[in-house]
Amino acid sequence: MSRADDADRLARLALSHLTEPGNLRIAALVTELGAVRVRAELIEQRRLSGEHEDIAVRLESCHPEEMLAAGESAGLRYLVPGDEEWPHGLDDLADAGAVQEMGGVPLGLWVRGALRLDSVSGAVAVVGARASTSYGDDFSMRLGADLASAGRIVVSGAAAGIDQAAHRGALAAQGRTIAALACGADRAYPSSAGRMLDLIAEEGAVLSEVPPRGAPLRHRFLARNRLIAALAAGTVVVEAGYRSGALNTAHWTERLNRPLMGVPGPVTSASSQGVHQHLRSGRATLVTQAEDVLELVSKAGEHLVAHRSGATRTRDRLTTRHRRVLEAVPVSRRAHSDSIARTAGIGLAEVRSALAHLQRCGYVDEDVDGWRLGDGIRDEIRDRAW
């Protein structure tokens, strides 16, 4: 496994330890000058002007080699851009601007789990509210399972509600799923997700920008949402209120020009209002099942969903004129063709020819007393089901 320059890795590790994830200024500096030099200059600045003194002090006393070793003994690996395993989807964050003053490509990622991130392709993010309903949870679980069964990796944030349901659906289908956390990748937040995260790591991956043991501070949730959007080929929002954090992930998805999808809910449900708003404004595409999602995240022409309509009804197969004649034929008693012609308001010759056609189709039958609907469609017509 080729690795980026070790000095670069260690510098990035040190910087990530002392700055918050999504810090655009540091990300820009690292892009321009390289992590090693940025780290060196920050330490130097302290000596020169006393500015950033606290950061510089901490930088100096920081020993990234030890931290790397400690992480590895906890089962975590630290990936940086340039590593063979580095997921290239994240690089798009360089051009995706800022949301709530956060953004940029991560300095590095702490990862645990069997899944190699460079093999992630065509993954689907499934996100939504913590304050979900059983409707949303059930749908997410089903979607996660269906996507996993179709060979897709499911990406989410391990939060209670929709996220966990999606992860669990993928696990139930024995598929692979990635959880991006706002705390250290060696921790579980919420704590009830501990067992789930261990299961995820068996075939999938648990990752974070935040160093091991890091706490799930509020702004770190917003920062990690961009990872979810960037790792996936498209994002599905299942349930989200007006102020749901899932809408932040949706925003990143748009910034990254990836398909954003929304699942409608009952119009009376506050838990779906955010999704409905996005659907209405056209920012999100309506999906109701895994096939719809696959169609949107796959290459053009792949996974096309057949247009679905109700069952073909008898009258769909008839011309308008023939339909009028058929409607004029009585259901139970019989009538002769002249009576039918009067009812239908169509000339007798045309009615006769139409009846002959309808008889060949089996829709009407004739005896000495006249014409009547055939057995096959009599029930349909009577129940207005046709």
Binding site: S132, S134, Y135, G136, R168, G169, L171, S269, E380, A385
Partner: protein
């Protein structure tokens, strides 16, 4: 003196009433007359008694006028169990047994012409009534001694024949006699596998978190529940597991329930009180008499009463006969049934929890999941079927849930399936809280609390109350529906130990009532 008196018991509904049985034998036109509002069985008793006495080697005063009186005279007497007391009192009036030997005793039993005894229904309520009225001794058919012996403080003696009864009261040695004949008529409609219920557990079911929570709330507060869903969605499986969520019956309930089973002729006969809440699941084709009670001949409690203090499961309930559906209104609203027979009405308690199950359509296959929609019904058939579900009965249903088959959940490696015992612990605690709160009231559970009392004495928190009022004003809830939501909110609070239900509990209650999806925090708080 040609007059004698002893005791028996008249059953009205599920209650026993002490009856004096008196005989007067005097000169006058020979014949027998029975007074005291007896039914046909009672008026035929003297014929049976006469033959039984003669065939027991004793004498019947055929040349005298025999008058039998059942007192109080204005209380209806029904059944054949008065035979034994009638025969003995005639024997005493003719000096063949000492009148004093019949004192302080209740005699019950039907006589055959040969003088043998036949079992009768309702021995337990008869024993209860005897004890309550201070009678010290009950004599009944031998095979039913254990049933009567469940009542503490009552001496119970079992006999096989009239001859043995005479020997008993005289203090003579017991003659041999043939065994007691079994009760006439079978028990009520058998339902599938009574004993199966002991083996089922909630953790047998995968997923169904929503429906399981609804079952827990229904069990905790005694709320009626409607489960709607296609075939295979687990409605019957869940309903069968609901009795397992209920705590054991307390002593009063156990006596009531066992008495009702005794009256229905459905007691196992091993002399044990029924301790577990009963489960009754009549077929949807059952008649009104079998479900509500009544019937020709002997009036018996129906399945709703057999589910008293337990669970009545009405599967495929839109297919119930119309008269049955109509007659269910009363027990749902008042927790008792009134069975009218001639000019008399009989009341049975019916305070069970009802679980209704309905398919979405007559063939049962209509899904909202297009992938498996195989419904063969026409639109009209579906509409008619749904209209039956929406009748006045459903207005009395507190909780509605829509079930879908749990396919993915069955494979969820993280699913935590609670056992019935775990849920039962919460239900028991919730019921204790209700018992405390309603200690001074005539009802015990939130599901039974009257709306006026709730509004006045057990109100919701302000914000919750406003939310509820807003829904009524906005038209999404009827006034009656709001009362039901109020009751549910209390049960939800009782399950989690919240002191007064507030807006969170009301929100969950509204979803439960309307069949809307539940906020998942409701399911999470239960599992933690």
């Amino acid at each position: 003196m040609p007059f004698a008196s002893t005791h028996s018991i008249a059953i009205r509904g599920a209650q026993g009433h002490l009856v004096d049985v008196q005989a007067d034998v005097s000169t006058g036109k020979a014949g027998i007359s029975v007074v005291g509002r007896g039914d046909l069985s009672v008026s035929q008793a003297p014929q049976r008694c006469q033959m039984a006495i003669l065939n027991s080697g004793l004498e019947w005063p055929s040349s005298r006028r025999v008058t039998i009186l059942f007192s109080p005279a204005d209380l209806d007497k029904r059944g054949t169990h008065f035979d034994l007391s009638t025969a003995l009192v005639v024997l005493a009036a003719t000096g063949q047994v000492a009148p004093a030997s019949l004192a302080d005793t209740v005699f019950v039993g039907e006589l055959t012409l040969g003088g043998g005894l036949r079992e009768v229904a309702g021995v337990l309520p008869m024993a209860i009534a005897s004890r309550e009225r201070g009678i010290g001794r009950l004599v009944c058919p031998e095979t039913q001694v254990r049933e009567a012996a469940m009542v503490p403080g009552l001496e119970v003696i079992g006999i096989r024949s009239l001859g043995q009864a005479v020997a008993l009261v005289q203090g003579d040695p017991m003659p041999q006699a043939a065994p007691v004949a079994a009760m006439s008529g079978g028990s009520l409609l058998a339902w599938r596998g009574e004993d199966r219920l002991d083996d089922v557990d909630l953790c047998d079911l995968a997923g169904m978190a929503d429906a399981k929570y609804a079952a827990e709330v229904a069990a905790a507060g005694g709320h009626h529940l409607l489960l709607s869903g296609p075939k295979g969605s687990g409605k019957t499986s869940l309903a069968e597991r609901i009795p397992g969520l209920l705590p054991d019956l307390d002593i009063d309930e156990a006596l009531e329930v066992t008495s009702l089973h005794s009256l229905a002729g459905a007691l196992p006969g091993d002399g044990t009180l029924l301790e577990r809440p009963p489960f009754s699941a009549p077929h949807h084709d059952a008649t009104k008499a079998s479900i509500i009670g009544g019937g020709t001949g002997r009036v018996r409690p129906g399945e709703v009463s057999r589910a008293h203090c337990g669970v009545l499961f009405l599967d495929e309930f839109p297919l119930l006969r119309t008269d049955v559906i109509d007659s269910l209104r009363q027990p749902l609203e008042t927790a008792e049934v009134t069975v009218a027979r001639g000019d008399e009405t009989v009341r049975y308690p019916a305070r069970g929890m009802v679980v209704f199950a309905a398919n979405p359509c007559p063939c049962g296959n209509w899904h909202t999941d297009r992938a498996v929609d195989q419904c063969s019904c026409t639109a009209n058939q579906r509409r008619d079927y749904q209209a039956r579900v929406r009748g006045p009965i459903t207005d009395r249903i507190d909780i509605t849930r829509h079930l879908v088959p749990a396919t993915v959940e069955a494979h969820d490696p993280l699913a935590v399936r609670e056992s019935s015992a775990q849920v039962r612990a919460r239900v028991t605690l919730a019921r204790e809280r209700q018992a405390d709160r309603y200690a001074e009231r005539p009802w015990r559970l939130n599901g039974q609390a009257p709306g006026a009392a709730l509004a006045r004495d057990f109100p919701l928190e302000d914000e919750g109350r406003r939310l509820l009022q807003g829904l009524v004003v906005g038209g999404s809830l009827t006034q009656r529906g709001a009362v039901r939501v109020h009751r549910l909110a209390w049960t939800i609070a009782d399950l989690t130990g919240v002191v007064t239900p507030g807006v969170e509990e009301v929100e969950i209650a509204v979803s439960l009532r309307r069949g809307d999806p539940l906020p998942s925090r409701a399911l999470r708080r239960v599992a933690s």
